[in-house]
């Protein structure tokens, strides 16, 4: 992400000093000289213009009453009506609550578990075991949410699923875990832990490898035990990595992951399952309220940006270290 900063000193910059007419002429020479490179650049630039910046322009329908046959340009402006409609809608507090609860569960459970797993892996001196466990726990990250959801459907299948029997036996109940609203959130967090905890350790393990080994020896000589070494050396050593990952995670808080939630949503658990991402789909795609759902999506992205800058500011204030 630092690349653009570095390029300020690039030699290309120096060429922009000559006076304007000379510069224009030299641009023609420059262009002729580099014509093949500009030609190579063309498809990529066209892609960004159409598929990345096109939708950004399309966001303007959040402030319009989009009518398909009038198009994005022809549809009438309605100001902030779509936003005020959304905030006044009883769906809004429910969506906000569901999204935040899932976000805090993931942040409070899955995030620390990733650090704990990385610390435990870091303590392993038996490299065969370490590599084997790493190989195994990284796998689920590469599987689609469809596969994760399908595995859940089979493992928790009504009456016959192994985990259905195990969990109901454990609690002495007989509920359909897949459709019971009370089980929706634990199920989502469980899936998240299974799929991404292992993968998440990579970045922490890389940070752990950079912690100064001499400090450990000094601490051992001073008689510090295993846990005190972890607490006083290892954790402070990876603090900046933890902060950066936390800022990124908080910035992503409202992105609950469309595919996962959509796949686990059903007619019975909608009250707790609906989040911003899936709501945009249900209202926008299946019901055709394009402008309204675009406004919901835009609201979500804006909150995400505020969150990421806010956390960064707070972290800089209290720790003197931030993401940017």
């Amino acid at each position: 992400m630092t690349a653009p900063v570095v390029e300020a000193k690039a030699p290309g910059r120096a060429a922009s000093t000559p006076p304007a007419p000379a510069r224009r002429r030299s641009f023609a020479v420059h262009f002729a000289h580099y014509k093949w490179l500009y030609l190579l650049l063309l498809p990529g630039v066209a892609y960004f213009a159409v598929f990345r910046y096109g939708p950004m322009y399309g966001v303007s329908i959040a402030f319009k009453d989009y009518v398909p046959f009038l198009g994005v340009n022809g549809s009438p402006w309605v100001g902030l009506t779509n936003f005020t409609d959304f905030f006044a809608n009883p769906d809004f507090p429910r969506l906000l609550g569901n999204t935040l609860i899932l976000a805090f569960l993931n942040l409070g459970i899955a995030f620390p578990l990733t650090i704990v797993l990385a610390l435990l892996l870091n303590e392993v001196r038996l490299s065969v075991l370490k590599r084997t466990v790493q190989t195994l726990v990284y796998i689920p990250h590469f599987l689609s949410w469809t596969i994760v959801a399908s595995l859940s459907f089979l493992l928790f299948a009504l009456d016959i699923g192994p985990l259905f029997q195990f969990v109901n036996g454990l609690f002495g109940t007989n509920v359909d875990i897949l459709s019971d609203p009370n089980w929706f959130r634990p199920l989502i967090v469980l899936q998240e832990i299974w799929k991404n905890t292992g993968w998440g350790t990579i970045i922490f393990l890389a940070a752990l490898a950079t912690v100064d080994q001499d400090q450990y020896e000094a601490a051992i000589i001073d008689g510090a035990g295993r846990f005190r070494r972890v607490w006083h050396i290892t954790l402070p050593g990876i603090r900046s990595t933890i902060i950066v990952m936390l800022i990124l995670a908080i910035g992503q808080m409202l992105n609950t992951g469309f595919e996962q939630i959509y796949l686990m949503t059903n007619a019975l658990n909608r009250s707790v399952a609906d989040v911003f991402d899936t709501y945009v789909y249900f209202v926008g795609i299946t019901q055709g309220a394009y402008s309204y759902s675009t406004a919901v999506g835009l609201f979500k992205s804006l909150v995400g940006i505020v969150l990421i800058f806010g956390t960064n500011w707070l972290s800089k204030r209290f720790n003197q270290s931030g993401l940017f």
């Binding site: 295993r226 469309f258 795609i285």
Partner: protein, 290 residues
């Protein structure tokens, strides 16, 4: 370093090793169960709660799904879309990364800033959907490929990789009269093979796993990809309260679900060792430098 000198330390090590081994096994168990179940008969799946080895081996579930036209069609479709999509992503990313790696190129800084901006802000689901619709790409396989054809992150990483290759290589080629495209094709690409292979694998996994694009852009069930088919097959009919499901659909027996999951997972597991070889070092180093 004397780390194992205390008794407490040894106990901790032992407990830690046992715990991590258990974590590894638990991660794997769902696959083992599904694999075993895909070779078991219906009665065994219903009767036994959990097993990792079927009492009676049967290929019935596989015979059934491979004789089902909708399944084989989804499988072939997904393989083709993955191959074409990966190729398109690679070609577009490389052709854009190469000029952007040339420090002397004018306009390069502006384009790079716009790429970085696109990394942070996106139009979102609905504007992208409307764009795809306006382009007439609904119910076209191109809708699964084009909207995400260049990943800005990998573009920047590949650009940085090109930039770090020694400039002398290009200069000597230029003296021999090679064109820019000739240099890219004959010198840079052979040197970047391992990096590009890694990205190709990641792209392929991404397209293979994609569920949102077919859900958004393909409404015709005859065009479904494997992930769409998988969802239809594995969700119990009463759970499919959320649209985009064939109403005439009758849920299949358990064994068939197991077999479809295995087929959808297998390619990922086969390519996983190749992925793993690269992601730990290659991806991280690239992204840190980026």
């Amino acid at each position: 370093m004397k780390i194992h000198n205390t008794r407490g330390g040894r106990i901790f090590d032992a407990a830690n090793y046992v715990f991590l081994t258990l974590i590894g096994i638990i991660t794997l168990l769902p696959f083992v169960y599904v694999l075993a179940g895909s070779f078991a008969n219906e009665a065994e799946i219903t009767r036994r709660a959990f097993f990792v080895w079927p009492e009676q081996f049967t290929l019935g579930a596989y015979e059934y799904i491979f004789s089902t036209p909708s399944f084989t069609k989804a499988l072939i479709t997904t393989v083709l879309v993955t191959l074409v999509g990966t190729l398109v992503q690679l070609v577009l990313t490389v052709t854009m990364a190469y000029p952007l790696a040339k420090r002397g190129l004018r306009g390069r800084k502006l384009i790079l800033s716009l790429v970085v901006f696109a990394m942070v802000f996106s139009g979102g689901m609905i504007p992208t959907f409307l764009l795809v619709k306006d382009l007439g790409l609904l119910n076209s396989y191109w809708a699964l490929i084009l909207p995400a054809a260049i990943n800005p992150f990998s573009l920047i990483i590949i650009k940085n990789f090109f930039q770090e290759l020694p400039a002398e290589l290009e200069e000597s080629a230029k003296m021999d009269g090679a064109t820019e495209i000739g240099i890219l094709w004959r010198i840079l690409l052979p040197l970047s093979k391992p990096v590009l292979a890694t990205f190709a694998l990641f792209y392929a996994v991404g397209i293979w796993n994609d569920f949102m694009s077919p859900l958004l852009y393909l409404s015709d069930n005859n065009m479904w990809t494997l992930q769409m088919y998988l969802r239809q097959v594995t969700a119990a009919s009463d759970l499919l309260g959320t649209g985009n499901v064939d109403p005439s659909y009758i849920p299949p027996e358990q064994g068939i679900k197991f077999a479809v999951i295995v087929v959808a997972t297998l390619p990922i597991l086969i390519f996983y060792p190749f992925l793993q070889k690269h992601f730990a070092k290659g991806m991280l180093i690239g992204s840190v430098k980026g």
